[in-house]
């Protein structure tokens, strides 16, 4: 098993674990962590792509590496927004949940 294949399998496993967590865990913070796990897997795949895609005879292809850096920045920003929303939600209400049933008010519909 070459290092590339090993890294590829690790990436796939990370994406798989992350997807499992994202779908099954009810708590938003856990979902966010699972999203970051998927992100790590995807970035790992990009890393291998940088090795395999180097058609021009370079040792590494710099383009996927530039993309990984951009991707990490975007994922970081996304996590920051999500954490801010979760914090705000826990400050505003007693239950931090995404369950829509909790948020349907019995009287509902009044704008204020």
């Amino acid at each position: 098993m070459t290092p590339s294949v090993l890294a590829g399998l690790t990436g796939a496993a990370l994406v798989g674990f992350g997807l499992y967590g994202l779908i099954l865990h009810p708590h938003p913070l856990r979902k966010l962590l699972a999203f970051n796990l998927i992100g790590s897997g995807v970035f790992l795949v990009f890393g291998i792509v940088a090795r395999r895609g180097a058609a021009a005879g370079l040792r590494f292809d710099p383009v996927p590496q530039a993309m990984v850096i951009t991707g990490i920045v975007v994922a970081f920003a996304a996590s920051a927004i999500a954490v801010a929303l979760i914090l705000r939600l826990s400050a505003e209400s007693s239950h931090v949940t995404l369950d829509p049933e909790v948020w349907t008010k019995p009287n509902g519909g009044d704008t204020k």
Binding site: V45, M67, A78, A82, L85, R88, W103, D110, T111
Partner: protein, 496 residues
């Protein structure tokens, strides 16, 4: 056809179309406060003029206009391209964003003497951010660039959902964000696989290189899956109704009319521009089935809603379903009709739904609630608002003359021409169900009951909503040249 890798005259307009909202956004941050509103209101008409100029250039040249960033041709550089559909979407986005900006003035303006609020500043900045992201999506020619634009779109849309800070809106925003993050990371994985297999992410270069290999299928499946989550296609639509119904009306209109179309636009780009050579009949059928399920499920759920804004949001779920019928209908020999139908549906829904949300916002402000059961007699006190709702409803149902009618009529024609009769069933059933939920709004409103207004409606807002409906109706009279314009730059199988 010209080489897609060379710059054409007029390409600088594409850069300006992106720069204008971005500069507006940054400028709004710096002086902040009440200046953000002025900057947004000043820049939107210019953006509209720019979009019209781009459309003019595309129609005069008869082929896409291209700009190479930094003068470097792909695969090393990044190209911006505007073809027929990009130009039309740029104009539509500019019109709706302009309308939303002027509609939002009474709620989010900070006149002298009033304390500046954080929500107003957020609204004006995020409105311009959404606009910038949409423009990048419409003209972007590089899949990774488009990923960044998609993320920008999400990050701009999520704060608009929870702008008033109530806990239920924050929960809706969080749900939206998590769905969208799943969508974008799945898209990104597809992008990585495409790059690994073909060494480029430029749309037209990829189109020349792709073959039906397992890597390409996997990448396409991942990207489509991600984009479906962002477009809220059934069964990934769960985030949409609470998010769109809880946002302020001006924001809901932009979210429902434009933001979901951004990711749908990329789905079109993926299947019709990058992968037209793939034998994708089965994929088209799966997407068509999901679309049909969305039409039925969305419309039936809309029929059961107690709140007007939720009803309109579920109607969006149903109307998104129609969009995905493009995939089976615009594949194969008689593709031009299906293509025209899909684009007409995007435009008609964008304008009609924006007008619908504007009216729902007016109604909620004027009556103090948006419960459908308590609308009795409201049409007597808000005649202009209900005229707008009725006309927009006409387009959503697909009654002539309206853009919605043209879209559905063309879809029926396309399914007859290509011998795919089964698709006519969801199209017709969706129209009937839409008639049902529009009737549910109008029937109590037209009754003789007495109702009192909490606040008189703003005439300017009513006129803006009516103007958007007028566009949705006018689309029904679009001439053949308009549909020819939509064909500019579309790769067709069998045509070099």
């Amino acid at each position: 056809m010209a080489d897609p890798g060379t710059a054409t005259p007029g390409g600088y307009l594409l850069v300006l179309a992106i720069l204008l909202p971005v500069v507006g956004m940054i400028l709004s941050f710096t002086p902040g406060g009440r200046n953000a509103e002025r900057i947004a209101l000043c820049s939107t008409p210019f953006g509209f003029a720019l979009a019209c100029a781009i459309a003019f250039h595309v129609s005069r040249a008869g082929k896409p206009i291209v700009y190479l960033v930094g003068g470097l041709p792909p695969p090393l550089g990044i190209a911006l391209r505007a073809d027929g559909i990009s130009a039309v979407m740029l104009v539509a986005a500019a019109v709706i964003v302009t309308a939303a900006a002027f509609y939002a003035r009474p709620k989010f303006s900070t006149p002298d003497g009033v304390r500046e609020s954080r929500s107003s500043l957020t609204f004006w900045i995020m409105l311009q951010a959404i606009w910038a992201a949409l423009n990048i999506i419409f003209v972007g020619g590089d899949l990774f660039n488009l990923y960044v634009a998609l993320e920008l779109l999400t990050f701009a849309a999520v704060p608009l959902v929870c702008i008033d800070g109530r806990p239920e809106t924050i929960a809706a925003a969080l749900r939206y964000l998590l769905f969208a993050l799943f969508g974008s990371i799945s898209y990104l994985l597809g992008v990585a696989l495409f790059y690994g297999a073909h060494g480029t992410l430029d749309i037209s270069l990829l189109a020349q290189r792709v073959q039906a290999t397992p890597v390409v299928w996997t990448a396409a499946a991942l990207m489509t899956c991600g984009l479906l989550a962002k477009t809220a296609l059934f069964p990934l639509h769960l985030w949409l109704p609470p998010a769109h119904a809880n946002a302020p009306a001006a924001a809901s209109a932009v979210l429902s009319g434009l933001v979901v179309k951004g990711s749908f636009f990329l789905t079109l780009r993926l299947w019709f521009y990058i992968l037209p050579a793939l034998p994708a009949e089965k994929v088209a059928i799966v997407l068509g089935c999901l679309g049909s399920a969305a039409i039925i499920a969305g419309s039936v759920t809309a029929l059961c809603q107690a709140r007007l804004k939720l009803l309109i949001a579920y109607s969006t779920v149903a109307q998104i379903g129609y969009l995905f019928l493009v995939f089976p209908l615009a594949a194969g020999a008689s593709s031009a009709i299906g293509w025209s139908a899909g684009l007409m549906q995007i435009l008609a829904h964008a304008f009609a739904k924006a007008a619908m949300f504007f009216s729902a916002g007016l109604l909620a402000e004027a009556l103090g609630h948006d419960q459908i059961a308590r609308l009795g007699g409201a049409a007597r006190v808000l005649p202009l608002t209900f005229l707008t709702i009725a006309l927009a409803g006409l387009s959503l149902m697909g009654l002539p003359p309206s853009g919605g009618f043209s879209a559905k009529w063309l879809m029926l024609q396309a399914s007859a021409a290509s011998g795919q009769w089964l698709w006519t069933l969801p199209i017709l059933a969706g129209g009937l169900l839409a008639a049902g939920y529009v009737y549910r709004i109008l029937s109590p409103a037209l009754s003789d009951d007495q109702i009192s207004l909490v606040l008189p409606p703003k005439r300017s807002q009513e006129v803006i909503a009516l103007a958007l409906t007028a566009i949705a109706i006018a689309l029904g009279f679009a001439p053949q040249t308009f549909f020819d314009f939509l064909e500019i730059g579309r790769p067709v199988v069998g045509r070099p």
